[in-house]
């Protein structure tokens, strides 16, 4: 009994201390943004980002400088997220060796301008990105449509996750041409109500010092476009 009392006391004390240390005991329920925004309203990227990253964490090498990001990218665009559709899946004799679930979605971006690559204003770019396996693309489309986007994209047409595994493009994506992938730290979104941009797998504070301190899409785009010249 005494031991149980001690454990309960420790747990209670620890909870209070975590709060003092800046660590909350829990987060808002899934599907609710910090501002209580209604589901499906894409005036903020908060809900989209939370849904896209639910249960998914990436450890990655950052784009150290704007020049490095430009060099690694085949296409750099700015525009509007007009849809989120199914991502790539895997086929081939060893498809089962690629993991238990597809963890990709496709961001359909209507382009307003390109800093690198040849895309006319009004054209659409299909960019795959790493997303939660437990969140469907319909939820992402509902929470992400109309968000403004800046994306630096690599061409991974020749990529395969393992020998004997082939990459299968979704029906909604052009069957030929480059297969564009957004790096974890090169897909940034911002809604009309947002003061800062947000990434599915990165926050502005994560951006290395060589970038300056871009906080919003205008600043991030300006930095990238300058490096691309």
């Amino acid at each position: 009994m005494f031991k149980r009392y001690i454990i309960a006391t420790l747990a209670t004390s620890a909870t209070a201390l975590f709060a003092l240390a800046g660590c909350a005991g829990s987060q808002p329920a899934d599907g609710q943004s910090a501002g209580g925004q209604a589901r499906g309203n894409a005036s903020s990227a908060t809900e989209f980002v939370a849904a896209a990253s639910r249960g998914l964490h990436l450890d990655y090498d950052k784009q150290a400088t704007p020049k490095a990001a430009v060099a690694a990218s085949k296409l750099i665009v700015r525009g509007t997220l007009v849809d989120v559709t199914d991502g790539i899946t895997f086929g081939g004799a060893n498809a089962a060796q690629a993991g238990r679930a597809s963890s990709y979605g496709t961001a359909v971006i209507e382009v307003t301008s390109a800093a690198k690559g040849d895309v006319a204003p009004g054209g659409k770019v299909y960019a795959i990105f790493n997303k939660s396996a437990v969140t469907g693309v319909a939820d992402l489309a509902a929470t992400g449509k109309n968000l403004k986007v800046v994306a630096a994209l690599a061409d991974i047409s020749k990529w395969s996750p393992a020998p004997g595994v082939t990459v299968v493009r979704p029906d909604a994506m052009p069957a030929t041409g480059p297969l564009y992938l957004a790096f974890p730290d090169s897909l940034w979104l911002q809604g009309s109500a947002d003061k800062t941009m947000a990434g599915v797998h990165a926050e502005p504070a994560d951006i290395p010092a060589a970038w300056g301190t871009p906080k919003n899409l205008d600043q991030y785009w300006s930095t990238l476009a300058k490096a691309a010249k």
């Binding site: 899934d30 639910r54 784009q63 690629a98 993991g99 790493n130 393992a162």
Partner: protein
């Protein structure tokens, strides 16, 4: 009371104020973290890094581990994979099956080629593996302003063991949860 005071002292370490929220939305179902190695991971260049990460969890927290051998059950907490992950990804932790806010089973996927870019490869693999297991038990990424531990993103800054361990603050969170 002395125990409570001692624990309280351990929670306030320099630089803790910028740690990420704990726990994240999805947590494992119990303090027993079961795991298995897929064939690809067992045949990879360093399956020992998976064993290392699980051992760190077992030896530095109140959680326990159990190696279930070959991967077959979707109730096993962690399936380890070795893959070529697209782009610049070194490793990822992906919850595959959930029950509400509980993750019944997750994939940990390691890209050895990406990790081995740069220096200190073996230690860097271990950091990444510890890092991904950290995610599976509720830890988020730590910003550069937070404390130094395995939950930083990217390559380890040095061979200091602290980059392959959870910070005491994180361990206190984990032990309070489980």
């Amino acid at each position: 009371m002395a125990i409570v005071a001692a624990l309280a002292g351990s929670l306030f370490l320099p630089g803790q104020a910028h740690a990420t929220t704990y726990p994240e939305l999805i947590l494992p179902d119990s303090s027993l973290h079961t795991y298995c190695f897929t064939a690809g991971f067992s045949g990879s260049r360093d399956p020992g890094t998976g064993t290392y990460a699980m051992s760190v969890l077992d030896s530095t927290t109140d959680m326990t581990i159990s190696n279930l051998g070959a991967c077959s059950a979707n109730t096993t907490d962690i399936w380890w994979w070795a893959l070529d992950l697209a782009g610049t990804i070194r490793g990822e932790e992906q919850c595959i099956f959930t029950s509400g806010s509980v993750c019944d089973s997750a994939d940990v996927r390691i890209d050895f080629d990406q990790i081995d870019i740069g220096n200190n490869d073996v230690a860097d693999r271990d950091k990444t593996s510890v890092h991904e297991i950290g995610h599976s038990i509720g830890l988020g990424h730590h910003s550069p302003a937070a404390h130094d531990c395995a939950m930083i993103s990217g390559e380890i800054p040095s061979l200091d063991i602290l980059w392959r361990r959870y910070n005491a603050h994180d361990v206190a969170h984990i032990n309070a949860q489980f």
